[in-house]
């Protein structure tokens, strides 16, 4: 029924870009309820941003405390049980309440409808509900942490988790509820991609960000219910002692690990795929080139989502899993490397002969490329059964997954924050400070985790409160790196907070990007995103010709 479609309006009102637009989603309603009861995907994204950043602060604080404790070989600032709680809560908060919701919750929510030429996501009320569930989950988690806190590590391995004296129930329930939030977000995004695409946006013309977020949503739908069940089973174990995973009652603790990692391995891709999503956008815009190998990047996202589900057994190499299964899972795990490499090569090829602007998002792209290649290569190494027997549960593994999952995700999170800051808030951040903090963070991250690679290779096990004297120098280096990292985040927080109010007004498209989200919207967008129904005759990031109605850009 084409009667519903509306003629495309001029891309944006040409004219004064020195002033903020008079009407935008941020000033459309100023009461508390207009925020807490909003159905606007952009406002929900901002709500997510507030809580996600808060969680990042809490999780980061725990990380710093852990690093401080490890400054000296003996007890430094806390006792052993407190230390166990600290690394558990660091893991739980960073995984379930920061990295999983961060990019989909904030940037997925904000950008998906803008990139699809839609007024909103398919189910706006479900969207708001998923934020409330997330807040409830985070609240439960924090409440549990104040009331004793869990000391099991974020993996809650049985049988220890069913007999620990600490209060793990609230933390379990927090993760359980946050899982529902993740499911609803994924469901909403999948339906949105299927039903809300504007005229002109066929499947093979969707922005690559959308493709990756779509693949993420598939994992969220298929994986998250299983972790929900696992959390329920653990609760039953704790409260009633059913003995499902208790070897004394004929249960198999390895079964717990199978079920847990069936979700939690793909969950790594819930964190990394959105990071890849962001980078596919940044690299095209900043090098002013059409994405090289668009189809390969798009399909490899789905490929990662698929293979991610077939690889969970590589977490169980030394847990008593059968040799046959270990071999099979080890081989399949290598395939993740193939799909990731497809993306890495395509991004690099996109840069080739591009007209690169070295902005802060691009600096983070460079960091991202480094972390994903090195994190990925060490991942291939630990997916080899014989090597993993040596490295398992040492700091090598800690450093590996911080490189691939945290390094890559943080790089993308910060890149997205800077790249879309003008779109979300209508103002620019200071480029100089942006680059300084990017350098600080990338160096800080390396300084934190390269010593941990070395420590792990020397045999220092993870999750230990004390260590032999000979490991101290590298531990001090790691803690120093962590403080550098903290310094970088502090600088970002300060200048972005100032830019919110005093930053230079950005105008609708400060990067001169041909990405869909920049074309037909003002910055910040109006409540319903577009005046009329936009039409997209060209592919996203098509830099082969000028876009109709494009204003000259500042960059």
């Amino acid at each position: 029924m084409s009667s519903a479609t509306v003629e495309a309006l001029p891309a944006h009102q040409p004219g004064n870009t020195e002033e903020m637009p008079a009407e935008h989603y941020l000033n459309d309603g100023k009461t508390v309820f207009s925020w807490l009861g909003t159905l606007d995907h952009k406002r929900i994204a901002i709500l997510y941003m507030v809580v996600v950043l808060l969680m990042f602060l809490v999780g980061g604080t725990f990380a710093l405390l852990v690093r401080l404790e490890l400054l000296t070989p003996g007890p430094t600032i806390m006792d052993a049980l407190t230390y166990n709680r600290m690394f558990t809560l660091h893991g739980v908060i960073m995984v379930f309440f920061f990295m999983i919701p961060a990019i989909p919750g904030i940037f997925g929510n904000f950008m998906l409808p803008l990139m699809l030429g839609a007024k909103d996501v398919a189910f706006p009320r479900l969207n708001l509900m998923s934020w409330y569930l997330y807040v409830l989950g985070a609240g439960l988690g924090i409440w549990g942490m104040i009331n004793g806190g869990a000391d099991t590590g974020w993996t809650f391995y049985t049988p220890y988790s069913s007999m620990t004296p600490t209060q793990i129930l609230p933390v379990l329930m927090g993760a359980f509820v946050a899982g529902f939030s993740s499911i609803l977000t994924g469901l909403n995004f999948i339906v949105t991609v299927h039903t809300m695409r504007a005229p002109g946006i066929t499947w093979m013309k969707m922005p690559l960000f959308v493709w990756s977020i779509y693949a993420t949503a598939v994992i969220q739908i298929l994986g998250t219910p299983v972790i929900g069940l696992v959390m329920l089973l653990l609760t039953v174990e704790q409260v009633f002692g059913f003995g499902i995973f208790d070897p004394a009652r004929g249960g198999d603790p390895v079964l717990y690990q199978h079920l847990f990692w069936f979700y939690s391995h793909p969950a790594v891709y819930i964190m990394v795929l959105p990071a890849m999503a962001v980078m596919s956008e940044v690299v095209s815009t900043m090098s002013r080139k059409n994405p090289y190998g668009y189809k390969m990047i798009a399909w490899s996202s789905l490929g990662i989502a698929l293979v991610g589900f077939l690889a969970w057994g590589h977490h169980l190499f030394v847990s008593g899993q059968s040799t046959f299964d270990a071999g099979a899972f080890g081989v399949i795990s290598m395939m993740v490397g193939v799909f990731t490499a497809i993306k890495v090569f395509n991004w690099t090829a996109t840069l080739y002969k591009g007209s690169v602007t070295f902005t802060t998002p691009f600096a983070y792209f460079c960091g991202f490329l480094y972390f994903i290649v090195f994190g990925g290569m060490t991942g291939i190494a630990v997916a080899s059964v014989s090597l993993d027997v040596h490295w398992h549960d040492t700091y090598f593994v800690v450093a590996h997954f911080h490189f691939i999952m945290v390094g890559a995700t943080i790089m993308a999170f910060l890149a997205a924050l800077h790249y879309w800051f003008p779109k979300m808030f209508g103002r620019m951040y200071p480029e100089g400070w942006g680059l300084v903090s990017a350098v600080l963070i990338i160096i800080g991250f390396n300084a934190t985790f390269i010593p941990q690679f070395l420590l792990g290779n020397m045999g220092m096990p993870r999750r230990y409160y004390q260590y032999p004297e000979q490991f101290q120098a590298l531990n001090v280096a790691s803690t120093a790196g962590a403080s550098l990292l903290a310094m970088g985040f502090l600088i970002i927080a300060i200048y972005l907070a100032i830019s919110l109010k005093y930053g230079k007004v950005a105008g609708p498209n400060p990067w001169g990007s041909h990405g869909y989200e920049w074309l037909h919207t003002q910055s910040p967008p109006i409540t319903h995103n577009f005046h009329g129904q936009p039409v997209y005759p060209q592919a996203p990031h098509d830099y082969t010709g000028p876009v109709e109605g494009e204003v000259t850009h500042a960059a």
Binding site: M1, R125, L229, F242
Partner: protein, 233 residues
């Protein structure tokens, strides 16, 4: 051309509303961020299928646990299975299958404009659901009396082999989670029945009835697998 609040481009049966808004008298509440009401129906149905897919995977974790322990304790599982009340289990299967039929008929009647018949069918469905839960209660009660309970609560002296408490742990977990879904499904169908009576649904707009029905069929689907796996080893 923003959709006008008074005139819908799709005719008088389609009322433009805000997301989640309602339309009077069985008309279609078209949430205007969807291109057309057709797209909206499609989105709702697709969303429901995705949700059902999460439900299937939720139960899948339990089925996998069941498979592992049945492999480890085949004889004990057979022994314990024969200790369940087969006739009650079979009756419950028939009850749920019949309720699945009536809910499918309810959707059919709403779509053909026979709201009275639809209401009747939904009430029969709810009665079946109640019957199912009552029978389940008697089964549970019997097990509590006998001590065929999960894990450390297992006190039954008749079967003392390794793995028997595990069978009953899985029995209570699977049927318990399923019963929880029965209760949720009953709440959904009660809500649907109320709005069918109120005349909110019609041949033009019956999406919530259909989605509620889909959920109920899922409850039936899970039981179709639980019945042979628990009662007929």
């Amino acid at each position: 051309m923003q959709p006008d609040a008074n005139a819908s481009p799709f005719g008088p049966n389609y009322v433009p509303v805000a997301p989640g808004g309602r339309a009077p008298g069985g008309k279609y509440p078209w949430a205007t961020h969807f291109g057309t009401p057709n797209v909206q129906t499609y989105a709702a149905r697709f969303g429901m299928w995705l949700f059902l897919s999460t439900e299937v995977l939720l139960f899948a974790g339990l089925f996998v646990s069941y498979a592992v322990y049945r492999y480890l304790y085949p004889q004990t599982f057979a022994l314990c299975s024969r200790h369940l009340d087969l006739s009650l289990g079979t009756i419950n299967t028939l009850v749920l299958i019949t309720s699945s039929l009536t809910v499918a008929l309810a959707i059919h009647f709403v779509r053909t404009g026979k709201n009275g018949m639809a209401t009747g069918m939904l009430i029969v469905t709810l009665l079946c659901a109640c019957a199912f839960l009552v029978i389940k209660y008697f089964e549970y009660h019997h097990k509590f009396e006998q001590g065929t309970l999960p894990g450390r609560f297992y006190t039954y002296s008749g079967i003392q082999t390794e793995g028997a408490p595990m069978f009953f742990a899985l029995y209570f977990l699977t049927t318990g989670l399923h019963a929880l879904h029965v209760v949720v499904g009953m709440s959904v169908l009660t809500w649907v029945t109320y709005h069918v009576v109120k005349g909110r649904f019609s041949p033009v707009y019956y999406t919530p009835v259909e989605l509620g029905g889909l959920y109920w069929h899922l409850v039936d689907l899970v039981w179709i697998f639980l019945y042979p796996l628990l009662y007929l080893i």
